[in-house]
């Protein structure tokens, strides 16, 4: 079932979603799935137009999504503070490693070790660990270019 929480996790940060939609000339894929903790993953990055993507780096990232009650305080029309609590899905980076790439057209690869004590891919009701291989291009005065692909990391 596609819950609001699942949509939130699939979509990621709104700004990242916009970066991905506006990115062209940068693609990333991973080989060797599923990857067990302690093994390597190889990222293949295709840069088709170096001028469009800026300074590129590739990384492997694990994001933890966790649900907590978040309190928000506002003031009512009589000036009395009102506190409301709502369930929110928060996120934290559980693991990340990045490598710079050459700013040239073509396919480049980078190999990353998944630490044996890192989280494994898990999707629950209030706790999720999601792994992805990400390529990002730093650009001056523009939104960064961003491409990613999910990977499955088993225990």
């Amino acid at each position: 079932m596609l819950t609001l929480r699942r949509l939130r996790i699939l979509g990621g940060k709104p700004l990242d979603l916009m970066r991905k939609r506006l990115t062209s000339g940068l693609e990333v894929e991973a080989t060797g799935e599923p990857i067990r903790r302690g093994d390597d993953v190889e990222a293949l990055v295709t840069i088709s137009d170096p001028a469009k993507v800026g300074s590129v780096e590739v990384g492997v990232v694990c994001t933890e999504y966790y649900d907590e009650d978040v309190e928000q305080t506002s003031t009512d029309s009589h000036g009395v503070p009102q506190t409301q609590s709502s369930r929110e899905t928060l996120e934290a980076t559980a693991h990340e490693e990045w490598r710079p790439l050459e700013p040239v057209a073509g396919v480049q690869s980078a190999r990353f070790a998944i630490p044996a004590d890192a989280p494994f891919t898990y999707e629950g009701d209030c706790l999720t660990f999601q792994w992805e291989v990400v390529a990002r291009g730093r650009r001056r005065d523009r939104l960064d270019a961003l491409a990613s692909t999910p990977i499955s990391v088993t225990p």
Binding site: Y66, F120, Y122, L127, P155
Partner: protein, 122 residues
Amino acid sequence: MSPQLRLQLHDAHGYAPGETIKGNVLVEEGGRSRSLRVELRYTERTKDYSSVAATVTSGPLHEGDLTGATSFEFELAVPEDALPSYSTEHGELDWELDAISDELGLDTHEKQVVEVAVKPRT
């Protein structure tokens, strides 16, 4: 009056997927009960929420009121595809044994976390 329970495992080491957890539920103080069972649950937890992702149950070990100083043996198989425990600053995943006395009103629980190791490479 609710019974007072204690979980006692035959082997207190960590368990591998597929292995059987054997133990006893000791009734330290007797009390009203409809039935007694043990569950093994894979649970995810954050500061404010929890959810059970998988459950293995013993079925009823006893039906009716519990008498003090009695003991009930149980065996529960850890699933072959069991995920290991994991914890971070924001959340945790773990396997938990829960001896449950089903009662009119609030049930009595006696819980114990058990360590489940990563399945060895084949």
